[in-house]
């Protein structure tokens, strides 16, 4: 036997047979090969990520410090664009509209989705038909959804007014300057409630049933079970849904364009809509457009970081 006997630490501490320099060289070669392999896998996607996401984000910052047109020249103006933003026609209203839109649509979407999910999660037969129908509007492109809602809101033959007529009421202008934004929000609710409903259904199904059985034995009513059991258990998921649906809400554009052309006036001109107008339908406004875009990006990043912080509380990112 090579090593019998008893030794605590040092065995036959041999001498390394290769010089440290040799080892360093070979180790570096092996590591390089490994890194290269990794980057060959990650590279293509990462390249696209850099070119079409990271660099454009930096580009937005640069453009926001310029003034001029997107083709042809621009020159540097520093923070002027941001300073003048509140006074710039259309910028303030775009931000206000978008915020109001989000404040109306997000709670409606999530409350509706939760309600639908609570019922759908417990249904015993025929669930899949309902899921299909509830989810269907999610797949409708914004443009098409807006077109459909034109047929609902049309003064003369729209479904809403036809219903009013059927009940003996007078037809009204649904897309008036006062109502348009609200209606846009309802459109968004119609489109998105199905998505979040499915999301919540998955979450609800994952809840432990023993808790509910115990609560039922304790005499808790349906409402009490919801309030003291379901809601707290779903708190994180609901929070996640709030953040993500808000981020999506802030991007509204397609529907605003097709339903009302941003109007009447600027009633439904949202942030991205305004950016598009500044860049492609006006002169010398690319700086403002980028400034607004940057504001939007920053808000989205802030919301993302809030959400990441929330998720990290429970479990670290791998």
């Amino acid at each position: 036997m090579v090593e019998s006997g008893v030794t605590a630490m040092a065995g036959t501490a041999g001498r390394l047979r290769l010089s440290p320099a040799e080892h360093r060289r070979l180790a570096r070669k092996a590591r390089l090969k490994r890194e290269l392999t990794g980057w060959m896998f990650l590279g293509p996607m990462f390249l696209c990520f850099l070119l079409f996401l990271v660099i454009p984000v930096c580009g937005t910052v640069w453009w926001s410090l310029q003034t001029g047109n997107i083709v042809g020249g621009t020159h540097f103006v520093g923070f002027d664009n941001f300073a003048q933003l509140p006074d710039t026609v259309g910028a303030g209203s775009a931000i206000a509209n978008t915020l109001i839109f989000a404040v109306i649509s997000v709670p409606l979407i999530l409350v509706g989705a939760l309600a639908v999910a609570l019922v759908l999660a417990r249904i015993e037969h025929g669930g899949s038909i309902y899921r299909f129908l509830v989810y269907f509007p999610v797949l409708v492109p914004g443009v098409v959804a807006a077109l459909i809602w034109l047929f609902l809101t049309n003064i003369d033959f729209g479904l809403f007014n036809n219903l009013r007529k059927a009940f003996g009421l007078d037809p009204i202008t649904w897309l008036s300057a006062d109502n348009a934004l609200g209606l846009l929000a309802v459109l968004d609710v119609w489109r998105n409630v199905g998505y979040w409903a499915m999301f919540f259904v998955a979450a609800i199904i994952g809840l432990p049933t023993e808790l509910y059985q115990a609560a039922e034995l304790d005499g808790a009513s349906v409402w009490a079970r919801f309030r003291y059991l379901t809601l707290p258990l779903l708190r994180r998921i609901i929070f996640f849904a709030v953040i993500v649906s808000t981020i999506w809400g802030l991007q509204v554009f397609d529907t605003a364009l097709v339903l009302t052309n941003g109007g009447p006036g600027t009633a439904t001109t949202t942030v991205i809509y305004r950016v598009w107008l500044f860049v492609f339908q006006s002169n010398n406004k690319v700086g403002f457009a980028s400034a607004i875009s940057l504001v939007l990006i920053v808000v989205i990043l802030a919301l993302t970081l809030v959400q990441m912080r929330l998720l990290r509380d429970r479990r670290g990112i791998d």
Partner: protein, 363 residues
């Protein structure tokens, strides 16, 4: 056995940034040897296995497999095969394809592959499962497929990472014997990682005890049991654990003695140990229990008697909070509350210094 060790580790170390997982590992594994890497979780034994396999990169040192420097070789070029704790069978391939996979990768002809696969399968009694998928098999069968995949390559060495820990107790014992039988038949070098000292003691030719990334002792099961290198090894191996008494070595008129929960003359033991703090150890089965009589220096009261079939485990209180574990024959008449005389035979004593390192006996 050839003179060149099958696997040799020289000054091997592994660290992640500032955290050292392994350090100063020097090991020489002979051809055909069954060597167990034993230690508690987190001691680095699995990492060491992965270093030998090439699945992790060394931070320092050299590893030789079959006489060749393996540091910079791909895992598949090192001529070792590994059995993983969770078997790592390819779920989308049949048993036949799983076992034959390494052969296929090495470019062997289809017929040759088929032949070897069927040999391995019949050897491991998997003949009937060949065309099934892993999720249709039981735990024990999956384990044998993992073994088959390793065996079929006829590698220089088998590396096994706690292969039995996912099996239920009965199956584990059964498979333990199977593995030993396999090793006897095939005779290939095997490195076996486990945290179960019974497994290591029953299966291995030699055991490497590891703790916090450092080798504590290398030796045969007998050596590791009766002459532990330090208190860690002494308590990790053997069940129930060795009795350890903390105290001091003092020189006095009547020679040197151990002073602790009791006094014990050393009678020439521990000559290499200076006066000062020390620990005395003795295995439970070496402790002699007899009816109390005045001639004995050490007496205690029986606190607990655990009858486990052929033996009885006694816990006796010496007073002052110190207790002694002893193992006696079940036939011995003893019950709780008895006053007993405890003898600690000199030949069975182990002495450890202030750091817990065993003191070698001179002559």
């Amino acid at each position: 056995m050839s003179a060149i060790p099958a696997i040799e580790l020289i000054d091997v170390g592994k660290h992640y940034g500032a955290v050292s997982v392994l350090s100063g590992i020097n090991l020489s594994i002979a051809e055909g040897e069954f060597m167990a890497l034993l230690g508690p979780s987190g001691c680095g034994k699995s990492t060491l296995l992965k270093l030998i396999a090439g699945l992790e990169e060394l931070s320092e040192g050299e590893i030789y497999v079959g006489g060749r420097l393996a540091n910079y070789l791909k895992p598949s070029d090192r001529d070792v095969a590994m059995v993983f704790q969770n078997y790592a069978l390819y779920p989308h391939m049949t048993v036949r394809e799983n076992i034959g996979f390494p052969l296929k990768m090495s470019g062997l002809a289809k017929d040759a592959v088929r032949g070897k696969v069927e040999d391995a399968a019949s050897f491991l009694q998997l003949g009937a499962q060949l065309d099934r998928f892993p999720d249709e098999l039981s735990g024990g069968q999956r384990q044998r497929v993992a073994l088959g995949r390793a065996v079929v390559r006829q590698p220089l060495a088998f590396l096994m990472d706690e292969p039995l820990s996912n099996l239920d107790a009965l199956l584990r014992v059964e498979m333990r014997t199977e593995l030993v039988r396999l090793h006897k038949r095939v005779g290939r070098t095997t490195i076996y990682v486990t945290h179960d000292q019974v497994e290591a003691m029953t299966m291995a030719n030699r055991i490497v005890l590891m703790h916090k990334g450092v080798i504590q002792q290398v030796g045969t099961p007998a050596e590791v049991y009766s002459r532990p290198a330090n208190t860690f090894v002494a308590t990790f191996v053997g069940s129930p654990t060795m009795n350890l008494f903390k105290g001091r070595i003092e020189s006095g008129g009547n020679g040197r003695k151990f002073v602790g929960p009791f006094e014990l003359p050393l009678n020439g033991m521990g000559t290499k140990l200076a006066d000062g703090p020390a620990t005395l150890g003795i295995r439970p089965e070496k402790v002699q229990i007899a009816g109390a009589d005045t001639s004995h220096a050490l007496t205690g009261t029986v606190e607990l008697v655990e009858r486990v079939g052929a033996d009885s485990f006694i816990v006796a209180q010496l007073g002052g909070g110190t207790s002694v574990n002893a193992r006696v024959d079940a036939a011995t008449e003893i019950k709780e509350g008895d006053l007993v005389a405890i003898t600690l035979p000199a030949g069975a004593l182990c002495l450890f210094d202030a750091e817990g390192i065993a003191v070698e006996e001179g002559t």
